[in-house]
C-alpha cells in the first residue's frame, strides 16, 4: 500500500463515518456539525484528486455558506440542545432495507461494468483553463449554462426575500392598523 492509497482510505472512512453520524445523531446541532465534517472530508477527497479549484469552491460554498445557513436556521427555529424524537422502528427498518438493497444493486452494477482506463492523458485543471472554457461561446463552451445559472441565482435571491418576508396581512394586523388607532386614542385622550 502506498501513502496515497492510505490517505484515500482514511479520507473515505472519515467521510462515511461522519456522514452516517450526521443522519443518525439525535441532537440537531451535532448533526449539523457532523455534516460540516463530512463536507470538509469531501473537499479533502477533491484535494487528493488534485482538483484544487473544486476543493476550494466546495469549502467556500458548502462549509462557509450552506452549513452556516443551516446552523442559523437551527438557531432560529428550535432549541438546539433538545433531542429529537426517535424515529419509528418500522420506518428505520424499511429505510435501512431500502438503502442497503439500493446500495448493493448499484454497486454490483458498477463493479461488473468494465471501465476502460485511459492512458497517456492527464487532466489539466488550472483555473485559467476552467475560466476560458466556462466563458467561451465555441462548441465546448459553457456560456449558456453559466448565464442560466446566473438567472437562477437571481430568481432564488428574489424568491427567498419574497418567501421569508412577512405577508402584508400580518404586517397590517401587527403594525399599520393597530398603531394609528392607538395613536388616535391617545391623541383623543390628550385632547380631552
Amino acid at each position: 500500500m502506498t501513502a496515497s492509497q492510505v490517505i484515500f482510505y482514511i479520507i473515505s472512512a472519515f467521510i462515511l463515518g461522519t456522514g452516517l453520524l450526521a443522519v443518525t445523531s439525535r441532537k440537531i446541532f451535532r448533526s449539523a456539525i457532523w455534516l460540516l465534517f463530512s463536507l470538509i472530508g469531501i473537499a479533502g477527497l477533491f484535494f487528493w484528486m488534485q482538483l484544487d479549484f473544486i476543493a476550494a469552491v466546495q469549502i467556500i460554498v458548502y462549509v462557509g455558506g450552506i452549513v452556516v445557513l443551516i446552523i442559523f436556521s437551527i438557531f432560529l427555529t428550535q432549541q438546539a440542545g433538545n433531542e429529537m424524537a426517535k424515529p419509528v422502528r418500522s420506518k428505520v427498518f424499511f429505510a435501512s432495507l431500502i438503502a442497503l438493497l439500493g446500495f448493493i444493486l448499484t454497486y454490483t452494477l458498477m463493479y461488473k461494468y468494465n471501465f476502460l482506463p485511459v492512458v497517456n492523458q492527464t487532466l489539466n485543471v488550472n483555473v485559467s483553463n476552467i475560466g476560458i472554457q466556462l466563458l467561451s461561446t465555441t462548441e465546448h463552451g459553457y456560456i449558456l449554462p453559466f448565464e442560466v445559472a446566473s438567472i437562477l441565482l437571481l430568481a432564488a435571491m428574489i424568491g427567498c426575500i419574497v418567501i421569508a418576508m412577512k405577508s402584508p396581512a400580518t404586517i397590517g394586523k401587527a403594525g399599520r392598523e393597530n398603531k394609528p388607532i392607538h395613536i388616535k386614542e391617545e391623541a383623543a385622550e390628550n385632547y380631552k
Binding site: 443522519v23 484528486m49 437551527i74 427555529t77 438503502a99 424568491g159
Partner: protein, 104 residues
C-alpha cells in the same frame, strides 16, 4: 493517485448517496432532511469528478457539472431554508408531519 481503482471511489460516493437516502426516509425534521439532500448532492459531485479524472482526462465536462451542481445546491438550500422559516412562523414547528394542508 492512479493506484486506487475507480470502483473504490464509486464505492464511497454510492455509500454516501444511500446514507443520504436513509436520512431522508427516517428524519421527520425539515432541516435534517435538507442536510440529507446536501449529502446526496455531494456524493454525485464525487462521481462526476472521479469519472472526469479517470475516464475522460482530456476534457473538463465533469468539473463544469460539479460547479453547476454546487451553484444549484446553494440556491436550493437558500430557498428551502426561507420556506422552512416561513413554515415555522405559521405553524411554530418544522416537522413534516405538521405540513398536511396541501395533502391530497
Amino acid at each position: 493517485m492512479n493506484d486506487v481503482p475507480l470502483t473504490h471511489i464509486l464505492f464511497v460516493s454510492t455509500a454516501l448517496f444511500f446514507i443520504g437516502v436513509y436520512g431522508l426516509f427516517t428524519r421527520r425534521n425539515m432541516i435534517t432532511m435538507l442536510m440529507s439532500i446536501e449529502l446526496m448532492l455531494n456524493s454525485v459531485n464525487i462521481n462526476f469528478v472521479a469519472f472526469n479524472k479517470y475516464l475522460y482526462p482530456g476534457q473538463l465536462n465533469g468539473i463544469f457539472f460539479t460547479i453547476f451542481i454546487i451553484t444549484i445546491a446553494a440556491a436550493e438550500a437558500a430557498v428551502a431554508i426561507a420556506i422552512i422559516i416561513n413554515f415555522y412562523r405559521s405553524h411554530s414547528s418544522i416537522d413534516v408531519e405538521d405540513a398536511g394542508e396541501m395533502k391530497w
